[in-house]
Symmetry: C2
Subunit: 346 residues, 2 copies
């Protein structure tokens, strides 16, 4: 048992995910002797409460990483690209929740329930996968292990908090204005850095992140590439359609998988009941199925609507829901940090 | 050319779809000499305006169909089961927008862009398909004709107006209460006649209509069975996951199809541009894709996000959006009536 304590930094501490990270570090009694909170110059000076103390957020600079043992990054890809290697240079382990390094060969991309062992291969940076990928691979890992996985077709129903606090505010304000019949101009979604903005209140937007050359969005390609990397299997065919819907927190996913071997639904339910980090909510007679509103605030991945395909004995349909800020981001990062200090440091 | 005029009845005239039917009959200058509006006893006595006149809604009774030429039913399956044959007995053509007769062998199930010719086989009743089926088959018909259709996997993002005016009111009231932090008790959705009710505001509910013995919902099985019947092809494999989201009007669908022959995306776009009732909105560089908010109030089916599968040359992904009250219900019914009087009566 390891009784060491660490100097931890959260980069992006005032953001939607950063706030959850700070909360989880406290709630889970992460072994910390000092917490440094970093953010952009704009957010520096804000006060954040941690274990009854008030911590003042500082601007992210290379020097801010002096003495840091573990740095949790969640301030956007450009911040990670600018500062993660500075942190590593100063001796920190970086757990990066952005897209900056996920596909780099020497950066492990880790979902502890799926590929914990990859943590050991790190060279200073461990990447946290995209929210929509994490909940999917947690649900599919037991299915892959038992039946083999040939193919995944997923359509997502993604919450607005995945786009950050400004997007969340936009959803609330727009919704109120629509209900009151007031005019408004969309300003944040679908993608802060893209040209056009669209109404998210009472709408469904089939664009998350920027379009790529192949007409898939970056979010869709993240799901494709990250799934193969996390599962160590480039032969799995993955197709994704990623859609933003007016939900605050909790991504839902309609997933079809084609397995190598014939599936048995009752066996799948049992496999998933025994799987780490999964809660099966699947009883049609009782209208029990995962719901975003119920998953929000909880760390697990919820799976239901488990049905065999009507035509294919090796086809399976699932409805998978999880809190995108927790298992999809902050909680998975903290899990990586916890696994790192317990398994790979002691 | 046919200059006959008709005595038309709308059954369920005060409902979400019935209101659209009355509006469309006026807007499209349907050849009417008399309009009779019928509803439940509870709604009888309500006043509806039509072409500058005020029509009083009457209770639906067998005798109310005396003298009716065309009866448009949209008051729920039980009302259709009770009264459609009474209307036929009295000489009316029934166009039924409920699930009551859709799968009966002697009842044509018609989407004019797909199987107009089936109208001729009617024996008094023509069925209007389910909203989620209609927009899908309109988009897929040209693809089927060109490439052959082996398989469809669809995940829906369905609007609340599909569940009627009470559900729509519930969404508005719940949304306001969530925004104001007030308590509420869900009362209508997911399914008025099912046991449990769930929050629809800022949520996604993977249940539309009742669960069947095979753990699929009735809405999902409608999509499966109706697609095969409309397309006259029982060999097409169809799998559906139907989800209600907090949108007022406009169903969105993430559709994957597997074709017999290899697809060419630019050719698919061109085919769809030329297809009746379809508008292609598909330009990733300009962030152009179908949106529920933009489709609401319009009669067409909007198709975008057209992508070839990353692994399969005969796999195609699409995002299909349409107004569920118009093409999904009222407009399709009126189209059937118009086709009937122009093609099969003159």
């Amino acid at each position: 048992m390891n009784s060491q304590t660490y100097h931890v930094a959260v980069v992006g501490a005032t953001g939607a995910v950063g706030q959850q990270m700070v909360r989880l570090l406290e709630e889970r009694q992460f072994p910390i002797h000092k917490l440094t909170l970093l953010a952009s110059r704009r957010s520096a000076g804000k006060q954040v409460s941690f274990k009854g103390e008030t911590i003042t957020v500082k601007e992210t600079t290379p020097e801010a990483f002096e003495g840091i043992d573990i740095a949790l990054f969640s301030a956007g890809g450009s911040v990670s690209k600018q500062f993660a290697k500075e942190a590593v240079k100063r001796g920190a382990l970086v757990i990066d929740n952005t897209n900056a390094f996920r596909m780099e060969p020497d950066v492990p991309l880790v979902v502890p329930e799926v590929n914990l062992e990859d943590i050991g291969k790190h060279q200073g940076i461990i990447a946290n996968p995209n929210c929509s990928t994490i909940q999917m691979v947690v649900a599919l890992k037991p299915i892959k292990d038992k039946y083999g996985l040939k193919r995944i077709i997923v359509s997502t129903y993604q919450a607005v908090s995945g786009a950050g606090n400004l997007a969340l505010e936009e959803l609330k304000e727009q919704s109120a204005k629509v209900l009151n019949g007031e005019a408004f101009t969309p300003e944040v979604l679908p993608v802060a850095k893209d040209k056009k903005k669209f109404q998210i209140a009472f709408n469904a937007i089939p664009q998350i992140d920027l379009f790529q050359e192949n007409d898939y969005t970056l979010e869709e390609m993240k799901m494709v590439r990250e799934t193969k990397k996390i599962m160590h299997d480039d032969t799995i065919e993955v197709a994704a359609t990623c859609v933003r819907i007016p939900v605050f927190t909790g991504h839902s996913e309609s997933i079809y998988v084609e397995t190598e071997k014939e599936v048995n639904v009752e066996e799948v339910r049992q496999l998933l009941r025994e799987a780490p980090g999964v809660i099966v909510e699947d009883n049609p007679a009782e209208q029990l199925y995962p719901l975003a509103t119920r998953a929000a605030g909880r760390p697990e991945v919820f799976v239901g609507r488990i049905r065999r395909d009507l035509d294919r004995p090796n086809g399976l349909h699932l409805w998978v829901v999880s809190d995108n800020l927790l298992k999809g981001a902050a909680y998975n990062s903290i899990q990586i940090a916890e696994a790192y200090i317990s398994k790979f440091q002691s």
